[in-house]
Symmetry: C2
Subunit: 509 residues, 2 copies
Amino acid sequence: MSSLAVDSDSARDLRSAVPSRVGVTDTTFRDAHQSLLATRMTTAQMLPVAARMNRIGFHSMEVWGGATFDACIRFLGEDPWERLKVLRREMPDTQLQMLVRGQNLLGYRHYPDDIVERFIRRSVANGINIIRTFDALNDVRNLQRTIETGKECGAHVQGTLVYTVSPVHDLEHYTGVARELVGLGVDSLCIKDMAGLLKPDTAGRLIEALRPVVGTLPIQMHAHSLSGMASMAYWEAIQKGANIVDTAISPLALGSSQPATETMVVVLRDTPFDTGLDIDALIDVAEYFERIFRDAGNAPIRQTIIDTRVLSHQVPGGMITNLIAQLDEQRASHRLQEVLKELPKVRADLGYPPLVTPTSQIVGTQAVLNVLTGERYKIIPAEVRDYLLGRYGRPPYPIADSLYARVTADGHEPIAHRPADDLEPGWERAVEESAQWARCEEDALTYALFPQVAKKYFQARDGQPPAPAVKKFPIDLKSINDLVRAFAQASTLDSFACELGGTRIYLTR
Amino acid sequence: MSSLAVDSDSARDLRSAVPSRVGVTDTTFRDAHQSLLATRMTTAQMLPVAARMNRIGFHSMEVWGGATFDACIRFLGEDPWERLKVLRREMPDTQLQMLVRGQNLLGYRHYPDDIVERFIRRSVANGINIIRTFDALNDVRNLQRTIETGKECGAHVQGTLVYTVSPVHDLEHYTGVARELVGLGVDSLCIKDMAGLLKPDTAGRLIEALRPVVGTLPIQMHAHSLSGMASMAYWEAIQKGANIVDTAISPLALGSSQPATETMVVVLRDTPFDTGLDIDALIDVAEYFERIFRDAGNAPIRQTIIDTRVLSHQVPGGMITNLIAQLDEQRASHRLQEVLKELPKVRADLGYPPLVTPTSQIVGTQAVLNVLTGERYKIIPAEVRDYLLGRYGRPPYPIADSLYARVTADGHEPIAHRPADDLEPGWERAVEESAQWARCEEDALTYALFPQVAKKYFQARDGQPPAPAVKKFPIDLKSINDLVRAFAQASTLDSFACELGGTRIYLTR
C-alpha cells in the first residue's frame, strides 16, 4: 500500500540546497492588525495570550515598529516602550522583531543619525532581537545607519528588498541590492511584497537568483494577501529555498494581511519543510482572538477579499482609495481612469519607484495634478521636487532628463549623497524640548520621532494619574486568570484597568 | 539585464509532459453561490452578466446541478430547467457544466435507473455539455449509469475522485478508482476536495500517480478554500500536470468557495500554464457581482476566513455545526469534545467513508448516539443500518466485524450488489402522479427528483399566472438593456418580471 506520506523520491524533489526546516514569523501583534485593524490592537488585548504565543515556538514574533508606535501615542494613549517591555517579559523564549523604515525609523521623514542610533539602541535594550529595515527606494544608503547600529548592539539585522513590478526591477536589480546588503553585514534578507504583486513563479526565481548572493544567510518572505497570490508565492519560494515566512493567526490573516499561520503550518507538515509548530496550540490562540474581536465588536476589516485592482493595474488598492479622495476634493472623481492611465507615465519619469509610502503619494499626487491641470508637470509640488532632487534617496532608474532640467532650472540644488548627511544632529534639541514631560530617555525619543503627537500624549498622560495601561478589556473568566498572572509578572506596570460586561476591574500593586 | 519574464530554462523546469495551457472552469453560477449564498442566486441576477461571462473564454462554466435545482424550486420559485435554457441561450460559446451526485443525481437518495437516464438525457438536451459525476464512497458502481447515459447522448463525462484523508485513502486507492473510471470511458477526471483537506504536496503526488492511469485525459482540480490551502494545491497540481482548475469570480471566492478566478489567471500569466483569459474582462464581471450584492444586501457569507477545525480534526466546519445542533437538541452541547473524539473511531468502524453528504451525517449521528447513550452502538439508527448493509454502496474499507455481525443478527440482509439494482423503475409513476401540474417532460422529472417540494412549487406556479421568472431584480440602467436584449433572445420565456427600486417591471411578448 503506497502511502501519501512523503516518500524519499518526492522528498528529494522538494528538498532544496539549504537547510529545509521552515521558520515562521508571526505578525499578529504588528503587521496583521496594522493591515486589518488600523493598528488599534491594545497591549491589553495582547497580554492574555502573549504567554501562550511565547510557547508556540515561532522563529520570531513581529511585535513592534511600523505604525504601532505612532498608533500607540496617537490613538491608544499607550506608551509604546511600555508595550515592548511588557511583551518582552511575557515572551522570554521568543525572538521579538521590529520593522523600521530605514532612516525614517517609525516615522515618515529622514531622522538625523544621532536619533537613529539612539532609537535603535534603546529598542534593543528594551527587548528587540531582530530588526528588519527597509527603504522605499531600495537605496541601501538609507539603511546603512540602522544596520550598523543594530549590529553594534548585538541585534540580528535583516536587510530588505522592497518588491515591485517595473521594467527596471529585474533579477539584476534585486541581486544588486542584496549584494550591497550582504556587504553591510546583514544577518538575513527579507523579500517584502507590501502590495501583493509577487507571483509564485517570480518568487521562486528570485530565491534561486538570490541564493548565490546571500550564501547561507536565511531568506525570509513577507507578503500581503491582497491579490490572493501570497500563499502560492510562499509555497513556491519555500520549494526553492526560502527559509522563513511571515504569517498571521487566522482571525487576523488574509485580505490586506499575511497568509494564515495555521494554514502554512499544516501545509508544510510532513514535508521536508515542516515548521514543527503545534496546530492545536495555534488554534487555541486563534480562538482567543475570535473571542476578543467578537466581544469588543472590533472585527478585522476585509473590505474586499481579493483586491482585483492590484491584479489589473499593479496599483495597491489603498493608493487608489487615496487618489479618489484627492480627486473628490477637486470634484473630479470622474477622472480616475485618466489618472490611472497617467500613473505609469509619471512613475517612469520618476525612475520607477516602488509604490509604497511615501513614493506612492509622490507619484499619485503628480499624476492627479497632471490630469487636472491638463498639462504634464505644470505644477510640481514640494514633495515631488524634493524627490527629484534626490532628497528621498536614489531612484531605481535615472529620472527623465526633461524633468531633471525643469526642477534644477528653478535654482534648486540636486544632491547625490545620502539625504541624512544634510541633517543636523537632533538629540540635544529633543531632550530640551521634551524636558517638561519626559520621564526617561525613551520619552525623549518618542518626542524626537513625533514631536506634535508626543506632546499631546505626554500632556494627557500627566493629566490622569495613575495612567491606566488598559482602556477597555473585554475578556472571559479564563482570561482574567491570565491577566492577573500577567500583571503579577509585569513589574513595570503600577496599575491595570479593564472592563468586564459593565463592571470595571482595577488591578493595582 | 536579466528579465523576470520566464526564460527558457525555468520554463523547462515548469513544463509538464502533457499540454500545458491551463483551462479554467468558473463555478460562480453553481458551487460558489451554493457555498457562500446558500444557493440563493437567482436567474435574474445571472442574466445581466451571462453574455459577458460567455465571452471570457472559460474552459467551462459550472452553472447547474448540485443544490441549485433543489434551491430553485424550494426557495426561489424558479424553474431550474428554465434557468438552464436561458443560460444556454445567453452563453452559446461556453461549455456548460453540471454536477451530479452519481445515482443520487441532484437529490439525497438513489434514484431508479430509468429516472437517472431520462434526467441525464434531458439535461444534455437542454444545454449541458459536461457532466461531472461523483459518489460519496467513490463506489464507481454508483456512477456507472450517469457515465453511460452521458456518453450515449454525446456529453463530455467527467469522473470524480472524492478526496479525503484516512489510513486507506492512499495513492493506491485513488489510482484504483481512477482506473475503474477510465474503464467506464470517462472523458476526464476530477479531484474533488470538498472539505479543503488537500495539501499542495499531496496534490502534486496525486497528479503524478494518476497521470499514467489516465494517459492524456485532462485532470481537473476542484477544491474549497476553507483551510486556506486550495490555491497552493492548485499551483502545485498545475506544476505536476493538472489541466483545469475550478475557480470563482472574486466576490464569490475563497472561504467555503473556490480560489478566485482573477488570482489564478494572473498567477499563471506569462508562465507555460497561461490561461489566456483577459483580467480586465474578469474584473468587469467581478464589479457586476459586487454591485448586485451591495444593492440587494445579500453579501456572501464568510463566517470564518480560515476554518481551523478542518486543519486540526480534518472534520469539515459545516459538519461540526450540525453536530452542535444535534447535541443542542439533547441539551448536551457541552459534550462536543467527546463527540469529536468518538468520530474517528466510528469512521474507522464504518470503513473510513469520506465525510461528505450523506456519509458525514451517518458518521456524525452515530458518534453523537454513542456518546449520549454511554455505550457504543447501543442504538443504531436506520440510515446507519442501511449504510452497514451496503445500501449506500461499498465502503472504502470493510466495516468492523462486530458491527457487521450486530446488524445482520437483527435479521437484516446485507447486499453486495449495486444499490440501485433493487429499485423499481420510477418514471411511469412520476408521470402519473405529476400529471395535473406537469407541462412537459422536465416537470415530471422535477417531480421524480423531489416529489414533495415539486408539488408545492407546481401549485404555487399554477396559482399566479403569468409566472414571473424573476422575483427581485436589483440592477442598474445598463443592466436593463442587457435584460431586454436577453429577453428578446430567450424565446422560451413568455414573460419576465423584475423589480427596480420600488418599481416592478414586466416584460412580455
